[in-house]
């Protein structure tokens, strides 16, 4: 291969996934430069202050909830599941993008994931923490939340393993643990980089402790890469199972609008759709705040928008198919449930959902919109609003019309429903901002693999 060809190829590669003249050194400097800043940027401080305030809202409203009980929420018969379940499903859904990006795209050898996987995995961790809070607190007496766990206890009592609610607990708990292990494994070489660059003794000790003494020897990389590959392999069915299991909380019941077999794939597609929406929102904000536009490029955003187009279309197809089956089944309750969704008292929730999840992603067919960063930022927020309304539609609209009209009711949240929901944003953003401050937001080791120079056969004739 001639010099010119190598050069043009290198340029082409870097134009796609890394902008400018990048070397191993500049990548290390740029990414680890962020946590090494002496002072956080003012925008970070403002955002952190806001996040801490929301965290205080959460702690306060959680305290009141524990003191007073779930009667402070707007749930009442027949709407026994309200915002707590909606928020749980919403946060778990958001948490799906992280493992999808790090596991499935890793197996498919999609190199473009290397710039955004750390970011997405961290988002997953905090989103799943927010999600896990809701099943924990919605049981009312949260001091007995350990009854979820199959632990031997003085009452000789065990969970009912034939119930989808306990499957759900196992699925989400496993998902959290595996995501944490995956995230930390990916961090080890980067923590070693931060350790070796640390200027103060304290930083060196803390980063060094968590880097576990990583030396970058190939005898270590060999086992490390296999472990990473296997984690990706087992996380792939896991991530697909989590929202399928969440959907079976609904699908195994006999409520019209819930009792459908389309739920598992439909929930998984929706989860990935909303997760990419959240990654997009956070990535657009972080790349401009920290000047990492050459590492998280417009091309990355373009590719994420394409995945959102795909999953958004699957979601739109599912909405249509639900209606078709409601008609085709000939079941009058099912038929009524769906007409009531679109034209009943909660029509506004249904059409908000349709607008955000079916209409908005259609713009992503065009490259002009997929590369327009402010447009992507706004639509990615709309995506998550739409996905919240999807869960509202499924939970509230299906429940508020019971079989007997005498049992019909309307649902409205109380201030405490809203406070706890907003409060989980406090947990999410406090955690995420601390991550941006102290840890590398993109994988230093993996981004280097995008450079053509990282291939030892690069430049051979």
């Amino acid at each position: 291969m001639s010099e010119a060809v190598i050069k043009s190829r290198a340029q082409k590669n870097s134009e796609e996934l890394l902008l400018g003249d990048q070397t191993f050194t500049t990548i290390t400097n740029d990414i680890s430069g962020v946590p090494e800043q002496k002072k956080a940027p003012i925008q970070w401080k403002l955002a952190f202050a806001l996040a801490l305030s929301l965290l205080a809202v959460f702690v306060g409203s959680l305290g009141y909830l524990i003191w007073e009980g779930t009667g402070i929420w707007g749930v009442n018969m027949p709407i026994g599941w309200g915002w707590a379940i909606i928020n749980f499903v919403w946060w778990v859904g958001i948490g799906h993008a992280g493992t999808l990006i790090s596991a499935i795209l890793h197996l498919f050898r999609q190199n473009w994931r290397n710039s955004i996987n750390r970011f997405a995995e961290t988002m997953t961790l905090f989103a799943v923490i927010c999600a896990l809070i809701f099943p924990g607190i919605h049981i009312g007496r949260i001091w007995v939340a350990y009854w979820f766990f199959p632990v031997p206890n003085q009452m000789a009592m065990w969970p009912n393993f034939r119930s989808p609610l306990i499957w759900d607990f196992f699925a989400v708990f496993t998902y959290f643990t595996v995501s944490l292990l995956f995230w930390y494994t990916g961090l080890i070489p980067d923590l070693a980089t931060l350790r070796d660059r640390a200027k103060t003794k304290l930083k060196k000790k803390i980063y060094g402790f968590f880097a576990l003494g990583w030396r970058g020897g190939n005898r270590q990389w060999q086992h490390y890469e296999l472990a990473y590959l296997v984690l990706a392999g087992i996380s792939t069915p896991l991530v697909l199972s989590v929202h399928s299991v969440v959907s079976s909380d609904f699908a195994t019941s006999v409520i019209p609008g819930w009792h459908t077999t389309i739920f598992p794939p439909y929930f998984v597609a929706g989860a990935i759709y909303s997760g990419f929406g959240m990654v997009m929102t956070l990535a657009v904000a972080a790349r401009s705040l920290y000047n990492l536009k050459h590492i998280i490029t417009v091309n990355h955003l373009d590719k994420m928008a394409q995945i959102m187009l795909l999953t958004g279309s699957i979601v739109g197809y599912s909405y249509a198919m639900e209606f078709f089956i409601a008609w085709y089944s000939g079941n009058q309750y099912e038929k009524y449930a769906f007409i009531n969704r679109a034209l009943g008292p909660y029509w506004w929730a249904y059409w908000t959902m349709i607008f955000c999840n079916v209409v908005v992603p259609q713009f992503y067919w065009f490259k002009r919109f997929r590369t327009h960063v402010p447009f992507l930022f706004i639509t990615s927020i709309l995506v998550n609003i739409g996905m919240w309304f999807e869960r509202f539609v499924i939970v509230v609209i299906s429940l508020h019309r019971d079989y007997m009209p005498s049992a019909w009711a309307m649902y409205s949240p109380t201030i405490w429903d809203i406070a706890i929901y907003l409060g989980t944003f406090g947990i999410f953003f406090t955690g995420f901002l601390l991550f941006l401050r102290f840890l590398p937001m993109a994988s230093i080791a993996e981004v280097k693999l995008v450079l053509p120079e990282s291939n030892p056969h690069h430049g051979e004739h």
């Binding site: 009912n160 393993f161 499957w167 980089t193 350790r195 020897g217 984690l231 280097k448 120079e453 030892p456």
Partner: protein, 179 residues
């Protein structure tokens, strides 16, 4: 102070790869190639055997699945039989999900802790960390290290050998912890 070994710097991944082949062919056993990211093809160049981690993970997954299925069976058949809506106690299709989740959970622990076991980490002190220059291996440098415990190790010869195959900034690492 005891000598740990000798390190030499190489320019880029392909130089490291060729160096690894040379060191392997020269018959050294206790050596390693250090890089900021995994270099493709280095396992063969160093003559490393396939990692046995896969077997460990497989065993962990099997144990997890058996434990998950066994726990549910034991609870519902023997320890705490609950009649809920007349559903059978041994409702094995309903056990599938928790069996699967525990299989994944146990294999993930097996993957991470098995990796740590094979890599002999956490190990926070290591003679290589006494080298100032070696620090850049986690950023942009490529090093070969040959340990003094290698049967073919001879300080002068190894130094000459590393220079011959293109190594730069050769440094002898002393283990400051050992007398």
């Amino acid at each position: 102070m005891k000598t740990y070994g000798i390190i030499a710097k190489f320019d880029d991944p392909s130089a490291l790869l060729h160096a690894a082949e040379e060191v392997r062919d020269a018959g050294f056993k206790n050596f390693d190639c250090h890089s900021p990211f995994p270099v493709h093809g280095l396992d063969d160049a160093m003559g490393l055997k396939r990692s046995r981690l896969g077997y460990v993970i497989g065993m962990c997954g099997l144990i997890g699945a058996l434990f998950g299925f066994g726990l549910q069976t034991w609870v519902h058949l023997f320890e705490y039989p609950m009649n809920i809506g007349g559903k059978p106690f041994f409702a094995y299709p309903a056990y599938a999900i928790i069996t699967f989740e525990l299989m994944v959970l146990f294999s993930a622990f097996g993957a991470v802790f098995g990796m740590m076991y094979f890599n002999k980490i956490p190990r926070l002190h290591h003679p290589l960390f006494y080298s100032e220059k070696f620090c850049s291996v986690t950023s942009d440098a490529f090093y070969v290290s040959i340990e003094s415990v290698d049967p073919k190790y001879d300080e002068r010869e190894v130094e000459n050998f590393l220079t011959k195959i293109g190594g730069k900034e050769i440094e002898i690492i002393k283990d400051e912890n050992e007398e």
